[in-house]
Symmetry: C2
Subunit: 480 residues, 2 copies
Amino acid sequence: MVKESKQSGGLEWRINVPNETAAKVLVSESKSQIRVCNGLRGLIVGFMTRIWKFLQKAWSLAVREPKKAIHGVKVGVALSIVSLFYYMRPLYDGVGGNAMWAVMTVVVVFEYTVGATLCKCVNRAIGTFLAGALGLGVHWIANQSGEKFKPIIIEVSVFLLAAAATFSRFIPTIKARFDYGAMIFILTFSLVSVSGYRVDELFELAHDRLSTIAIGTSLCILTTMIFCPVWAGNELHYLITNNMEKIADSLNGCVVEYFGINENVNSKDEASDKVSQGYKCVLNSKATEEAMANFARWEPAHGRFNFRHPWNEYLKVGALLRKCAYCIETLNVSTNSDTEAPVILKKHFSKYCIGLSSSSSDVLKEMAVIMNTMTKSTKIDLMVNEMNDAVQELQGVLKSLSKQPIIRDSKNGTGGGNKSSTTMVRVMEIVPIVSISTLLIEIAARIEKGVEAINELANKAEFEEGTKKSKQSENQQNSS
Amino acid sequence: MVKESKQSGGLEWRINVPNETAAKVLVSESKSQIRVCNGLRGLIVGFMTRIWKFLQKAWSLAVREPKKAIHGVKVGVALSIVSLFYYMRPLYDGVGGNAMWAVMTVVVVFEYTVGATLCKCVNRAIGTFLAGALGLGVHWIANQSGEKFKPIIIEVSVFLLAAAATFSRFIPTIKARFDYGAMIFILTFSLVSVSGYRVDELFELAHDRLSTIAIGTSLCILTTMIFCPVWAGNELHYLITNNMEKIADSLNGCVVEYFGINENVNSKDEASDKVSQGYKCVLNSKATEEAMANFARWEPAHGRFNFRHPWNEYLKVGALLRKCAYCIETLNVSTNSDTEAPVILKKHFSKYCIGLSSSSSDVLKEMAVIMNTMTKSTKIDLMVNEMNDAVQELQGVLKSLSKQPIIRDSKNGTGGGNKSSTTMVRVMEIVPIVSISTLLIEIAARIEKGVEAINELANKAEFEEGTKKSKQSENQQNSS
């Protein structure tokens, strides 16, 4: 403990500096500094790692779906062209000149798929045109009715039309096709109504907007259709095809996993992961399918699809696939149930269940082939028959259960299971097997409905007939 | 046949008028005229009926969901106020002045729910601000680098940023919260970059845009929050609650319909319709739930919900409800199966199955009550226990099937069913009952998980504790 006392010019100060405490204070101060430093460093490191993770996620997305990265490049190109187009003409003395509308159109209208872009373009054009014409009409009426009533007429018309158009966006038919058009209608009508009193200026405004929107939309349409176009129809087609394959794999994987003898735990985990991933995608694909079908309707003929390709049929097929997926959900529960069926019964059923599931998934895969090649299959009926045979076999096996002696829990029961050569089965033990079998039979029935839907689709979309070659090869397969 | 010949001034004309043909031609002409008339009338009538039907549909929608009609009125009011605001000031000498941005903001940003509107407002503000600042920065750099490089720098920056921002909209985290902001970012950046060379004008542009956007957004927020606000959080809360009630009704209806003796065919149809409608809504509610939860996060405290209400927990509860719905889908199949269980077995099982389904749906209804009152239930654990007891009873009945003599199809089988007093059952006939029972047990397991999720939600959202009153009434119920 050091006490320092000094007197100079009436000023006295005393410093009590207990050495230990001073050291402690110094240490704790430096500690708190270090803590703050560490905290800051932690924050910065945390921030950097978050950004790094975000970039990694973005990169993996770009690698997984390069189309999406290309879409970004396409938007960049379209915007550069629009801005270039306006750089060349010195039109920019006034802020918010005409260029703005073209730039805005490109940014707002350019969507991922061609169909969505076309839908927005057509909506924007129709909405702008209708609202512009109506706005001019209302302006004319308002001008005729004198200065006093003019603002009232315009205000009331804006209110009524905006309310009606906004409400119309909730009506399903409008929502599906003209949602964006209704919004543009409100926007343009309000702008035209509000933006001034002189009609000559209004005509100029309308002309400017229409011409710049035409430039923007045509540029969007060209860019989206020429560079790596992403067709909504194509996406829907492959989404449905992929869903078929996923359900086929899930179904087969689920049943094989249950009945098969898995020696390797890792491979089982991977397989079950694949299974659960597969059908779960299908469960929630309704919204995507409907959006795609909506956009596909706007698309012109492209690749193998005509203008009036029956996209609605795709939705029906998709709905049936989803119904299969619901069953597989329950199947997955049954196969993971706690009650384990006896090995002997499992072996007895495995042949028929695996037979049915593999013939079902064969049908699904053949459906996927029909979709992929857009050729009517000559084999599909045969395969459905095979599937139905497998269903009947499984039903037969279920019936034959009645012939097997079934052990009873109570000792004083009469008869049953006295021979050592026959297999003993408890009723509770057959529950999971019975559930799985009935589910498989139900899935087969749903797949058959799916085949009917596919045939309907093939007829409406005028898929090619199966070639003789495939018939010959099929005959060869049958004979061999 | 009349032949007329006349010569006057070198001009000759001859008219062959075969009477019958003329009549026929006249008749056919008048017929075709009538046909055209009829066709036109048909077209007009068809058009009118379509419009009439559309209006009827719109009216019924407005009656069913008056909130949506009110939303239309709200948009009309907001637009009228914005336009009024600008009428009062004679700002409109130039076309596309500042008013435009306010009108545009109102039209584009005003959404059905408060959360969606707030989300778009915040996105628009952040996007505009960031892009404006970045645009000014790029402009400054471009100005420093000389006239030659200036357009190149600006073009390259527009291309790169537009491409990056467009691509970022595909990344799930950005898509969920900042999709609109990314679009506004691209739009503003392009406009600022393209729209001129002089920075003083740019500042003016930025100031104008920001102030008008501020006017538009604040007007939107005020209108959407003051007049009949539709809170996304509220909607999500009641969507989930309704889903619980629908599943409870579907489950009970489905089981009662299968086991019950329906004397009236019409009432059965109505009931089954109600059943199928109920759970099918839940199957496809995922997209709506996620959108609502996304918007609800933006909402301030309102009604019984705080700002940081655990909306994510609602999604978990919703997912579990959907899992129940998948099971009910399969249950519906089993109850409509062709194989009819024998009446005696049905009667034997009906007590336990209906018991389980009614206790399950009681639990679901109690969950709905918890949600509705936002009060932790003192009864729910008891009810879950009751449900589990019912599960064990049903499992016991399934086990006791083993004790029942089961008839065999083959005549040379040993033992079984010799007593006339015992009930004879074929294995195939128990299949539907067994399936239904296992499904009911599975649904009960899923409901239990749902209860856990609800409890988690109740803890995180700090639901009120159940009052003593309800405890007392519960005790009274138990003792009586």
